[in-house]
Every structure is written in structure tokens, then in C-alpha cells.
Amino acid sequence: MKTPVMLDVEIEARKKPFWATLMKQKVLLLMSVPFVIHTIIFKYVPIWGWTLAFQSYWPGKSFFEQVWVGFDNFRWLFRDPVFYQVLRNTLAMSIIQLVFGMVSSIILALIINEVRWTFFKKSAQTISYLPHFISWVVAANLVRDALSTDGGIVNEILMKLHIIKEPIMFLGIPELFWWIIGATHVWKEVGWGAIIYLAAIAAVDPNLYEAATIDGAGRLRRIWHITLPSIRPIIVILLVMNMGYLLSSGFEQQYLLQNGRVIDYARVFTIYELDYGIKMMRYSFATAVGIFRSVVSLVLVFGTNYLAKRMGQERLI
């Protein structure tokens, strides 16, 4: 406390020993401690499980009977060609999602902002949110149907337009998988992602638009010279913050849309952990994969947070 004069109550409060105060706050303790313990069990105890990665874990043996192998699992991991494939897929899909997701949401926000018929504006927005609320299981079903060779709407339209002669099995082409993930991500999240940009656009000073109109700027030039520069800070900050999640490009989407033919392009970290850990029972190895992902993510998140702060912006999460 920097103020030189302290109130009597404050001095009293400071004098009181910690435990005495704590006893007085029994109710607050009762209200929070059980849940803090709950969090420690469900969020922190798994960190203790990281020890698995340094063992050659054998189910059924106790902790002290396990064979300790040091960093062997990590050595195998970095020698595994599949690991580099997983890293490539995760980064590629994350970047595609990030870039296309942001660009499409910004464009949508600009478009919605130009609509003056309120009913149409509200309805279009409400409809655009719908895919955000459905599960990936449902979304994957819809995507599969739309892309199917057996009367899928995409193939039908392309054939009617004579762009292709035979239906294409889109979900069976490895090179296309990343782009399908990107496109479905945009389809699901574009409307929801636009909300934050719309809020930013709404905060732009209307005087700027008036002044520009007087100077003879049309709507397009006002979008280009006023709206876009005004929302640039939020765009930059969201871009930087989202880079913290490059290693967590999601997994449900990839897992639910993949099949044997495209797995080399679809396998992301969680699928890798599932295949090695749960299916092949190489628990220690899969734990090492998880540790790699967690630690790199942690560094990325803190790094991007630091960057965002340096840019003079508030933390967003």
C-alpha cells in the first residue's frame, strides 16, 4: 500500500493473522474449495501423467515397477516420419482455416453492413449462424452428402455446367482434403466469425463517413478508406491471437471426414495420439506426442499474447 496514511480498519486487517481471517471466511472457502480440488484433479493430475512419456509403460504394473527410459520416446517421435506428416497436416490445415476463415468473415461483415433492409439483414445473419451451433458430426454428414458421387449437389452442379463429365469422389482425393477442411470450416463459421467484425464496424465514428461523403467518396471508397482501416487493429489482433492455436486446428472435423485413402493428409495430432495410444496401446509414445503438442502450443499462446501486448492491444482471452 503506497498511501502514507492508513485507515484504522486497514491496519486492523493487516495485523490479523492469515489463519484468523481464513477462519472467518469459512463460507467462501466452502463455496470454492471443493471446486478447486475438482479442478486440480481433472486438470492438474493429468500433468502428472506426463511421467508416462519417460517410461516404457506397461499397464498393470505399479508406478514404481515401470521401466524408466528417459527421452527415448521423444527420440522415436522425432525419428518417426509420420510425426512430420502430422505436423505438416496440422499446420497446413490451421493456416488454411485461419486465412480463409478470417478473410471470409471480414468480407461477410462488410457485405452485411451495406444492407439497409433490416429484416433481410437480420434474417441473413441468423441463418448464417446456424451451422456454428450444429455439431461436427452433423456437419460432416451434410458435407459428405453434398460431395458424394451418388447424387451429391456439388457433382450435380458441376456436371450440369459441363465442367466435369464424371462425378468426382472429392473426399477420396488426398490432395483435396486440406481444402475441403478449409471450405467446410468457412461454411460452418463464416457467419459467427463476422459478429466480432460487425461489432468493430458499428463502433466506427459516423462523422468519418459523413466527411468522406461530403468529399465525394462513394460507398466502395468509404469501405476501402474508412471501414477497413478502422477495423485493422482488431484484424491484426485476432490474427496474432489465433496463431497461438496453430497446433490445435481441431480434430473432430478431420476425424469425421477422413477415410483410409486420405489419411496421410488428414492425420492431425489427436488422431495420431488416438491411433498410437488407444488403438495400438503405445501409451508412452502417445503421451510424448501429447506433451510435444501441449508444450509447443503453450509457447505459441504465450508468444502471441506477448506480441499482442507489445502492439498495445488488450489481451483478448
Binding site: W50, V137, G260
Partner: protein, 295 residues
Amino acid sequence: MTKEDIILDIVVYISLIFLVIVTLYPFLNTLAVSFNDAMDSGKGGIYLLPRKFTLYNYKSLLGRTQTYHATLVSVLRTVLSTLFCTFSTAMVAYALSRKEFVLRKLFSFIYVLTMYIDGGLIPTYFLMRSLGLTNNFWVYVLPGLVTAFNLIVIRTYIHGLPESLVESARVDGAGDFTIFTRIILPLCKPVLATIALFVAVANWNAWFDTFLYNSSNSKLSTLQYELMKILATANSMTGSLEQAMAQAATGATNTITPRSVRATMTVIVTVPIAVVYPFLQRYFVHGLTLGGIKE
């Protein structure tokens, strides 16, 4: 209206109409297939309306005990998670919002740190197993009881309430728990509605926990997981094979195909959300902006 204005308007309206069509078509198409005769759907050409209308797909799917169980579990987990999660998060948020609470900083730190660390799939799986939460309904409710994000959102809201309300109640002799239930909870209704909705949607949509922890007990299956299994079967088959496997996959008569089972199940799973969200979007959008508030 200048020429530029008119062209811009045309572009704006056409692109939004395009967006609406692209968003809605897959849903409407699935809806049409679900109400169409399964064998007839196989011939293709179903777009927005069923050609041979039937309720058979729904009757056969809803008549199965498996669907009945899964619906029950899905509804139960959503209701229980929403109730428990909202109440306990609010309670912890209240305790951590009291400036005089000596453990406030420590507990807040414990929660905030969980936003950055992640134990990973295998250690979490082992934890659930050793806690006896595999093949157990409570794995749907217990692990996500209080999450850091929800906690911060509610705590930020409580900080925004006038402190004098709490003080005057204390002068009147109310204890912390009374203040929480009688004063804070009623005032927090808007933020609690937002959190409750987020939790409810997340729970209704979850399938991975069923897949990971409860897949060997069909009585604990959820609707999303049932749909996921149907999708997985479809993914591993293609074209004519899909038709041929129809009977094997569904175990029903030849008047139902995997395609129609998939469509019908998709509709059953989506309808609750599609019906509810337009009325609640105000809260959802509210929640999104709340998340933007820094702690």
C-alpha cells in the same frame, strides 16, 4: 442513387442470397431425404422436397430401443451439465469476486492456468479410468463442471454489479451464501443464461467423450455418437457397396438404407438446436462479446 450504389446493392443482395442458399440447402436436402421413401431416395434426384413422402424412416428409427436410450442420455447429460455447471461456476465466481477473500489470488491463478495447459489425451484417459469414470454416465457431467473461461465471464459480470448491494446485505446480517443465492444469482440472470446456453449446446453436440470413455456400453451412448457411428460406417464404404450393406448396417428390412438412416438421424439430432437457437441468439452474441472483456 448513383450507378455505383445500384451495382453495389445488387452484389450485396446476390451474395447474401447465395450465402443463405449454401447454408440452408444441405439441411433442407437432408430433411427431404429423411421424409422420402428410402429405396426411392437411392435413385437420386431428391433436392428440396420429398418425392415419395413417408414417415417410415422416423418410425423405424425412433422405434429402436437404442435411439430411445441415446435420446434419454443426451437429454439427461445436457440438462444435468447445464444445471450443475451454471450453478457451481456462479458460486465459485462469487467467492473469487470477493476482494476480502484471502485465497482469491491463488484460486484465480489455479483456474487461469488451466486455460494454457493441457494434460493431453492419454493422461486424461488414464485419469478417467482410474477414477472409475469409464463406462459411467457421470463422465459426461463431472469433468467440465467449472471451466476457467465460464468462470472469468461470470466473475467479470459480478465485478460490474454495485458493491453496495453486497455491503448493505452484510450489514443486515446476511452471510455469504445468502448473499450469493438471494442477491447475486438473481442479478446475474443474463450472464447465467448465456453460460447455460453455451454449456447446453456443447453437451448436446458432444460425441468424443462417449467415443473415448463409454463406447463399450450401449446404454450410455448419446445421439451424436449414434450418428457418428452411422457416419463412420458410411465413410468406410462407397457407392453401390453402401446400398448392399444396407441391411447389415441397419439390421432392418430392406425399406431403409444407410443414406436415409443417416439423414433421419441427422434431422433428429439437429432439430432441437435449429428450433432453439434463433430465439436465443441474443444471448449467444452477448456471450461472444463478454468473452472479449479482459479479466
